[in-house]
């Protein structure tokens, strides 16, 4: 079992003819994802190794029944691409693009929350449900089918932790990169709820980092709403205040958003938090191994 991305996924790729878009689309397809269409304005009628290209997402949906979109469009056009996907009625939009301005995302988020569609990212590595499908840029070799769900604000850390868990013989149900920006379409809580509802997930690993209060809120949600156990990890204990640590969202503002504050808040809610990826893997093993 899995969440969000699976055998029923019908993927349309916005920005399919770009270098990165094409490279990752073909990798996703090779893994088994059902890629039904691509969109690049002005290139309707072309194809990318057999995947038909359309001018607009609406055209792609009408012709192929696409229900999921992956966005590979550069930052200055990505906001428009997200709105286009939402307006075409796509259920799940996954925005890989890094560098979308925060003001654009405030508008996107406000619009999004008035409906029932789902946005993952931006600035995220995508989603993989091992053995079923992958949408995004994750290195698929790192993952094996299993019963641990992973949610993360960081790509490489997700791979690291997944591999360490894998080395202990434990696989994943789904792995969701929610993105490293200050505003992302889906929070930890949104994805925790999906894993809680998934009979194929026995434990969730939540990989957080400095900035914002999403981890703190997730702690309260876990203690009040979840039966599925959660193991946490937080990166950025050494980060100084006021400095952006790579991700646009990884910044301590004043005294809020520190790694210690997040760790304390999660532990106060009964969530175990590892001090490094290896320890997190050991905690998972101890719980369900």
């Amino acid at each position: 079992m899995s969440i969000l991305v699976n055998k029923d996924t019908k993927l349309v790729v916005q920005g399919i003819t770009g270098r990165e878009g094409q490279f990752h689309t073909l990798r996703n397809k090779a893994y088994g994802t059902n890629v039904v269409a691509g969109v690049t304005p002005g290139k309707a009628g072309q194809d990318v190794e057999g995947i038909p290209v359309f001018n607009t997402v609406r055209d792609a949906v009408e012709a192929t029944g696409a229900n999921t979109s992956m966005i590979f469009v550069p930052p200055r056009f990505a906001t428009d691409a997200i709105f286009e996907s939402l307006d075409a009625g796509i259920d799940l939009t996954i925005a890989i693009t890094e560098g979308i301005p925060a003001h654009d995302m405030m508008r996107v988020y406000t619009h999004l929350k008035r409906g029932n569609q789902t946005l993952i990212g931006p600035n995220c590595p995508g989603i993989i449900s091992p053995g079923e499908a992958t949408v995004g840029i994750m290195p698929t070799d790192v993952f094996t089918p299993g019963r641990v769900g992973i949610i993360s604000r960081s790509g490489t850390l997700t791979y690291q932790i997944s591999k360490e868990i894998g080395d202990l013989g434990i696989g994943q149900s789904s792995v969701v990169g929610i993105g490293g920006d200050a505003i992302v379409g889906s929070s930890f809580i949104d994805i925790l709820q999906r894993f809680e509802d998934d009979p194929g997930t026995d434990l969730v690993v939540m990989v957080g980092e400095i900035g914002g209060d999403d981890e703190e809120r997730a702690g309260v949600f876990i203690s009040e709403n979840m039966k599925t156990p959660v193991v946490g990890y937080i990166a950025g204990f050494q980060a100084p205040p006021g400095k952006q640590m790579g991700h646009a969202g990884a910044i301590i503002t004043g005294s809020s958003g520190t790694a210690q504050g997040k760790k304390d808040a999660l532990e106060a809610m009964g969530v175990e938090v590892g001090t490094n990826p290896t320890e997190v893997a050991e905690m998972v093993k101890k719980r369900i191994g």
Binding site: H103, I137, Q238
Partner: protein
């Protein structure tokens, strides 16, 4: 990107917000000339991005141009909480009847703009929020609708702004929100926003932060970036497009991905060391990217050892190893370098290094082992 007060005030003036007339000065002579041009009593203000300037002696009144010269001489070069003052802002002194507080911030939690107003200005606003929560009026703005005059009125009545100042405060709030949108700011803070003896409302301080991701739409603001970065390594990294943050330790760190680099810093600290920096070489860590990253790292004289932590995904570890060899060949670095490769093609990458890397390159199998080794080597070297 956080701007200096003087830059914020110049942007305020452009947005039609009332600010005292003023000029920047890099020397006491310029400060004196500025005081002469402005006329009357002036305030000489240290331009550093840290709170508590006044208490540290970084803000002084000067009644004459000669006094402005003397105060600027005293303030320039001063160290305020680790920040050296390189520039002062000289502005006309104001007759303050009352100090208010106004801000427009990007509220991450609500994912909307938040406008705040208080009649208790001039002090630490986090303290006001804690001790007198009723004195701070707060209103979220729907970004699809924008900030309306009735929103401003609501804030003014709830903050208890004095009647004669209400019109001026309303105007300041409307223009602050406009500036927030136009500049794609994440913060516009005016503390204090003053009500003067002659019933004007004037921004006496300016704290402005701009969203780095939006700079491509604001070339004029992007130009300010160089002036706000004073660390030589950070400036070098910025010029070369490397994501780098300077810290004060001696173990240099490089990795591929923001999360794994943050985690590397933490693991170095757990091993008893102090990280010298954050450096994300990005996904495609090829020879060129590794060379650029190493150049930035090695330019910091405090760095005694390096930890290179790579998790190969789409990036292959054998290519990273080749990149590292090419970079070392070009740069000839002799300090100890601990490398940890994991993920795609890691065995091949390790084999390449074992065979061809110079003696100062050490390979460790895990993040923890690499951090421990890098910390030991840094201690030995110092």
């Amino acid at each position: 990107m956080d701007l200096f007060e003087y830059q914020g005030k110049q942007l305020f003036a452009r947005a039609g917000l009332a600010v005292p007339s003023g000029e920047v000065a890099d020397t006491p002579e310029q400060a004196k000339a500025a005081a002469e041009a402005i006329g009357g009593t002036v305030v000489v203000k240290a331009q550093v991005q840290v709170g508590g300037r006044g208490k540290a002696g970084g803000i002084k009144l000067a009644k004459t141009p000669d006094e402005a010269y003397a105060e600027a001489k005293n303030i320039l070069g001063m160290d305020i909480k680790g920040h050296t003052v390189k520039r002062v802002w000289v502005e006309a002194a104001s007759d303050i009847k009352k100090e208010y507080y106004a801000s427009v911030t990007f509220d991450r939690s609500a994912k909307m703009p938040l406008v705040m107003l208080s009649a208790m200005g001039g002090m630490d606003i986090e303290g006001v929020a804690k001790e007198h929560p009723d004195a701070l009026a707060r209103l979220h703005v729907d970004p699809l609708i924008g900030f309306q005059q009735h929103d401003a009125r609501w804030l003014i009545y709830h903050a208890g702004i004095d009647e004669p100042a209400q019109k001026g405060v309303l105007d300041a709030l409307m223009k602050s929100y406009e500036a927030f949108i136009d500049l794609e700011a994440t913060l516009i803070e005016i503390n204090p926003l003053i009500w003067t003896e002659d019933d004007r409302v004037v921004a006496l301080d300016a704290k402005v932060s701009i969203d780095n991701n939006a700079l491509f739409r604001h070339p004029d603001l992007a130009e300010l970036q160089e002036s706000v970065t004073d660390d030589p390594q950070e400036r070098m990294a910025q010029e070369r497009g490397v994501t780098y943050v300077k810290l004060d330790g001696d173990v240099g760190i490089m990795g591929n991905g923001a999360g794994i680099v943050m985690s590397s810093l933490d693991v170095v600290a757990l091993a008893g060391g102090k990280p010298a920096n954050f450096l994300d070489a990005g996904g495609g860590s090829n020879a060129e990217a590794v060379t650029t990253a190493l150049e930035v790292l090695l330019s910091d004289p405090k760095v005694k050892s390096l930890m290179i932590n790579i998790f190969g995904g789409i990036t292959r570890c054998d290519q990273v190893a080749e990149g590292l060899l090419a970079a070392l060949d070009k740069l000839g670095a002799t300090l100890p370098i601990v490398v940890r490769l994991d993920g795609t093609a890691a065995p091949e990458g390790r084999a390449i290094l074992a065979e061809r890397a110079p003696d100062n390159v050490v390979i460790e199998p895990t993040m923890l082992a690499a951090a421990t080794r890098a910390v030991e080597l840094a201690k030995e070297a110092s």
